[in-house]
């Protein structure tokens, strides 16, 4: 048996130090654990201050004693390496462990144990926990805003349809892969717009939509018999032709049975709201801001001084002002700039404002990608005899965009997180609806639940987006 020096733990008395240290560490954690879960304080006989700081001291001594290098026990070495490298780290680790243990019971209590889930009135919420009944009762409002209850299937249907259409890319065979870009850049946004405009907004214009669907189906069916050579021109011309034929020559709205369907009730954009509005706005702004941003990024790198200065002015202007003032502008100043009889819907003005604003950020991100490309790429493309557009579309942009996937994803994330700001113009998406529900006299005092609920939803959306962008980044990573 070697002499034991408690100030200098070493390997020769491994077991002694190990048992003593683990015991002290265990005691300290146990004390905090019992204290927070069962309200038992077994060192309560000590003076107040000492009993408060005792677990920390015990744990610290314990960790000090088990800090033995190369002990030969794998678990212990790993523990030392990860949380117990020196005194400072040991104290920080202990503090974090204590904070986590201390905060678990109140959080569990609030979220689940004391919370009330049942019922549909305020009376059931008597416990000290959260009142999820409030969320349950107001769920429709949080999801759909003031959209009439009977019509909400339209939003659901549109979103499901758009999600299905959006997932086409995963199922496309190699033959159709080359059309995917065209599909996602031009056709899909168009379909989405039609869905939102005719379905969610509704109104008498719905007839056009049904004609459009008929025209599309008929032309696709005929399209199978058209030789490949003419397919492009065919799909460019024929659907439009059939649509016009249907609308103006074959079926007059008075005579056709389809026209007698009452269509869908018109729901004004002021009544849209909740999470669905967040999605709608984010979706359109995403689609619009990307090409605009790309155009200004190219403009800023252009050789023409006038175009360059205009692009710089545009980008720096939008980047210099807060979004809230831009929305203010779109709400109170922009109508002044339009002819008196010209009216643009509030939601559309909002989407334009946010798109322009985010486009400036996208432009800067893309410019970073363009600058990061070596000059050789430009020169190689030029030496092959490519013009400006050919060079950028086939050589420069594919590489530059690949480089800036994380940056673009961050901008898109910022966009989604900025959507609640539309409360400025009086549109109420989910956060706005929360604020409205909070002031309802029957449901006063449940602000916390609402905000936690919205925070969870937003967190899931944003976290999923950032993870997805990370995957994309890995997928398209190529070594040059």
């Amino acid at each position: 048996m070697n002499k034991i020096n408690f100030l200098k733990p070493d390997k020769s008395n491994l077991n002694t130090f190990l048992y003593l240290g683990s015991f002290l560490f265990f005691i300290s954690v146990l004390d905090v654990f019992l204290n927070s879960f069962f309200k038992v304080n077994f060192i309560g006989f000590l003076p107040n201050f000492l009993s408060f700081i005792m677990p920390l001291i015990l744990g610290f001594i314990g960790l000090y004693l088990i800090r033995i290098e190369y002990s030969g026990i794998k678990k212990l070495d790993q523990l030392n390496k990860h949380i117990n490298t020196n005194n400072f780290n040991a104290i920080l680790s202990l503090l974090i462990i204590f904070i986590v243990i201390k905060s678990i019971p109140p959080i569990l209590n609030w979220f689940f144990i004391e919370a009330s889930f049942a019922g549909d009135s305020k009376d059931v919420c008597t416990g000290s926990g959260a009142c999820w009944t409030y969320i349950k009762v107001w769920m429709r409002r949080f999801m759909y805003g003031m959209y009439p209850n009977a019509e909400q299937w339209r939003i659901n249907l549109s979103f499901i349809a758009l999600a299905l259409l959006g997932s086409v890319g995963y199922f496309a065979t190699d033959r159709f892969k080359k059309y995917l870009t065209l599909y996602y850049v031009v056709i899909y946004p168009l379909i989405a717009f039609l869905f939102i405009f005719f379905f969610i907004s509704g109104g008498p214009v719905f007839f056009d939509f049904s004609y459009g669907i008929i025209a599309a189906i008929v032309s696709i069916i005929i399209g199978f018999f058209i030789p490949n050579k003419f397919k492009f021109y065919y799909f460019l011309i024929v659907p439009l032709f059939i649509y016009i034929l249907l609308k103006y020559y074959l079926f007059f709205e008075e005579t056709i049975e389809l026209g007698k369907l009452d269509g869908l009730n018109w729901v004004e954009t002021g009544a849209w709201g909740g999470l669905s509005l967040t999605f709608i706005i984010s979706f359109f702004c995403l689609i619009f801001c990307f090409p605009i941003g790309m155009a200004f990024a190219l403009g800023r790198r252009s050789n023409f001084p006038l175009i360059r200065y205009i692009s710089i002015g545009f980008i720096e202007f939008w980047r210099g002002v807060p979004l809230i003032t831009v929305l203010f502008m779109s709400a109170v100043m922009f109508p002044m700039f339009l002819p008196a009889d010209f009216f643009i819907d509030k939601l559309v003005r909002c989407i334009i404002a946010i798109s322009l604003f985010e486009a400036a950020y996208v432009a800067e991100v893309i410019r970073g990608g363009l600058q990061a490309l070596p000059r050789g790429q430009y020169e190689a493309a030029k030496s092959l005899g490519m013009g400006y557009w050919k060079m950028h579309i086939f050589v420069i942009l594919p590489q530059a965009l690949k480089l800036v996937i994380p940056g673009i994803a961050n901008t898109f994330l910022a966009l989604v997180k900025d959507t609640p700001l539309i409360f400025v113009v009086g549109l109420l998406e989910i956060v706005g609806m929360l604020n409205l529900a909070k002031t309802n006299p029957e449901w006063l005092g449940f602000a916390m639940e609402g905000y936690v609920f919205a925070a969870i939803i937003f967190w899931i959306i944003c976290y999923a987006m950032s993870k997805y962008s990370y995957n994309l980044e890995l997928k398209y990573k190529t070594d040059r």
Binding site: P305, P322, F337, K417, K438, M448, W459, C462, Y463
Partner: protein, 383 residues
């Protein structure tokens, strides 16, 4: 001649398009204003504003002009931004360094903090702190004192106010010590370059900045006392704290959420910056015999700062711009006071929105010019 007619086409088209769009807008604006009988002009700035602002750094009430109201809003915006930037930098640097810690728990804790706070919209966070968290605080009469002098209540945070005598002498002493420190630093650098001598500049600096102000207390006639807030009864159930400094809950909620949110981004910048310095640099510095402190100060930090500063500047700008969200919780910042109340009263939409935007624009451009200058100063000077 370098002039090409081919180049002129696209430029001309763009310029004409821009001019046409702006012309269209101005033309419409003129007609609209004529129809509504509004005249364009900034004369309203000197008129009496006749509205009140609950929190202002300078003296203000309804009898002052709109321009004064604008200044109040601007100062409040700057106040929030400055406090937010300071707190966000402190938290951000700590969390950023913590994310590089070998300690598993600290590392994960910092990572969760970043992932949690940056994926929730800032507006939601502001609402959460203001409407949910700060509303759970006690009423003034029930509040317990923190360290005996601070009172955190539902009506805001009450802190002791400083009462200075001969404050200017104290200020002079601090300015003098800062000048002395700069002079000593320059001298020390010169000494090291010419003779290789090293002076403990850091300790001398700390000594100077402590001793000179202390001297001003002892012989300069400066004195400092505290005014501790006291509970005062206004009516049977209405209490306020009298004396001391009161920070409104709007300000607390705003700075808290702004700094917690921005700190996550700054933390990522700091982490990227420190990771961006190659491992070889550290090893090379250690191999030529520098102490760990010197390695950090002379090798790692100068290189890391070069990577950290540009994105961090962007975050500072973002914080300043995001402070305009104050309008949502009625903190009287520029947007609320000027683009809100003043606009409602005067109806001068174009003038007021343009002034507001121009103010933010010049704020952000001046910060970015300052930071660009600094960035250029510390950039690698290739020979």
């Amino acid at each position: 001649m370098n002039f090409k007619l081919k180049d002129l086409g696209p430029q001309l088209i763009t310029v004409i398009a821009v001019v046409l769009i702006f012309g269209f807008f101005t033309y419409n604006a003129q007609i609209n204003m004529e129809n509504r009988g509004i005249d364009f002009g900034y004369g309203f700035l000197s008129q009496e504003s006749s509205f009140d602002v609950q929190f202002s750094l300078i003296e203000y009430d309804g009898s002052h002009s709109y321009f004064r109201a604008y200044l109040v809003g601007l100062l409040n915006t700057i106040l929030v931004s400055v406090i937010g930037i300071i707190i966000a930098t402190i938290i951000g640097v700590i969390v950023g360094v913590a994310r590089l810690s070998p300690n598993y728990l600290i590392n994960k804790f910092a990572a969760y903090y970043v992932e949690f706070f940056r994926n929730i919209p800032l507006l939601l966070q502001i609402f959460f702190w203001y409407f949910a968290a700060l509303r759970a605080l006690p009423l003034p009469q029930d509040a317990e004192a923190i360290f005996g002098v601070f009172f955190l209540t539902i009506k805001g945070l009450y802190v002791p106010a400083f009462i200075w005598e001969n404050f200017n002498i104290f200020l002079y002493s601090i300015v003098a010590s800062i000048i002395a420190i700069i002079v000593i630093r320059i001298q020390a650098k010169k000494l090291q370059e010419t003779q290789g001598k090293q002076i403990p500049v850091f300790f001398i600096s700390i000594g100077l900045i402590l001793i000179l102000p202390l001297l001003s207390f002892l012989i300069g006639g400066v004195s400092l006392s505290f005014e501790i807030p006291k509970l005062k009864q206004l009516a049977a159930t209405s209490f306020v704290y009298d004396g001391g400094l009161s920070l409104p809950p709007e300000l607390i909620a705003l700075t808290l959420s702004l700094s917690l949110y921005t700190a996550t981004f700054i933390a990522e910048c700091v982490r990227a910056g420190i990771q961006g310095v190659g491992k070889g640099q550290k090893e090379a510095a250690a191999s030529i015999g520098l102490t760990p402190n010197q390695v950090l100060k002379l090798v790692i930090m100068p290189q890391a700062l070069r990577i950290i500063i540009p994105p961090t500047t962007n975050q500072y700008l973002n914080l300043t711009k995001n402070s305009s969200l104050a309008a949502a919780i009625a903190y009287p910042d520029l947007v609320l006071v000027f683009a809100g109340t003043a606009l409602m009263q005067t109806g001068k939409a174009i003038e007021i929105v343009s002034i507001t935007m121009f103010t933010y624009l010049s704020l952000s451009i001046s910060i970015s010019i300052l930071m660009n200058w600094y960035n250029k100063k510390i950039a690698i000077q290739e020979k």
